[in-house]
């Protein structure tokens, strides 16, 4: 009986831990998306919607650490909260289409043994741009917006690599943390 109780206690602890981690990742994504506004990448490369995609690091980490379902939940909540905090409806439409397409591509690619986190991140960044430009075409009812896509895709190679390496750094630390925790029996 005590063993059963202990087991129950343990799963509850794990659930609480996962919930806390999810909440932390959502706020981290929001903070990163906000901080990103102060990095004037569009001053250097004048393309609409160009950004580093720092919040993508969170999606990447969540995907590997917590699985597709949790990463999906984090993404949806992040997009909605981002809209509340100043993105507006148009911002929501863009972050949602870009985010969901990127998420789907990354979830698939992360299951392919061929790709490391770098490849997954690059494909995700490219998918994000495709989603956003697709949404822009629908909203503006114009194919002309597509002229930006080739440029954005080239940039995605670099930003995807950068967020991939940041994600790798985070996961490397998380791996050690998890191992230590398991070793301590907690």
């Amino acid at each position: 009986m005590t063993q059963e109780k202990q087991m129950k206690e343990k799963t509850r602890m794990m659930r609480t831990k996962k919930l806390t981690l999810c909440a932390m990742l959502i706020s981290l994504a929001l903070a990163l998306a906000y901080a990103e506004r102060f990095i004037p990448l569009q001053m250097v490369i004048p393309l609409p919607g160009i950004k580093l995609g720092l919040a993508n690091i969170v999606t990447l980490v969540a995907l590997y650490l917590l699985g597709t379902k949790s990463a999906f939940t984090i993404l949806i909540l992040r997009c909605f909260l981002g809209a509340v905090f100043g993105g507006g409806i148009t911002g929501l439409l863009f972050s949602m289409t870009g985010g969901l397409l990127s998420m789907a591509v990354m979830a698939t690619a992360s299951r392919v043994p061929l790709f490391s986190i770098y490849g997954v991140s690059i494909l995700g960044a490219a998918a994000h741009n495709v989603g956003q430009i697709g949404m822009a075409m629908i909203l503006m009812q114009s194919v002309y917006v597509g002229t930006y896509l080739p440029y954005l895709l080239i940039v995605a190679l670099f930003t995807g690599f950068a967020t991939g390496s940041a994600g790798a750094g985070v996961l490397r630390i998380m791996k050690t943390v998890q191992r230590t925790e398991e070793g301590a029996g907690g």
């Binding site: 569009q42 393309l47 609409p48 080739p150």
Partner: protein, 127 residues
Amino acid sequence: MNKNLQLTFRKGDLLAILLVVAMTVMTAVFFLPKNTSSQNAVVQIYQDGELVKEISLGEDQTIRLTGTYRNTIEIRDGKVAVTETDCPGADCAHSGWISSVGRSIVCLPNRVEIRIVGDAEVDFVVR
């Protein structure tokens, strides 16, 4: 933790890069304008997908657009730019001056698009 977690760059990732490069080339072929020189270029201003104004690129003019946000569009010396805006990010203003046919400036927050089109070209034709 995902079983397939690999934290270092691998050869397989080159395939991912190749895929994106291939997509870049494909989209470039499909979307980038083929003919960029025209003597009688026209500036078309679209808002919410509708043509609101059409001015010759040779006419110096200042246009003020309202909507969710404001854009000030200037045509000067055969070039066009968004010179002032209050939209978040101000990507449209950062896009600078454009002058060749096929180029466009977009303001996503205000759903405004400024295109330079050639004389005979009425709209994008998908074949």
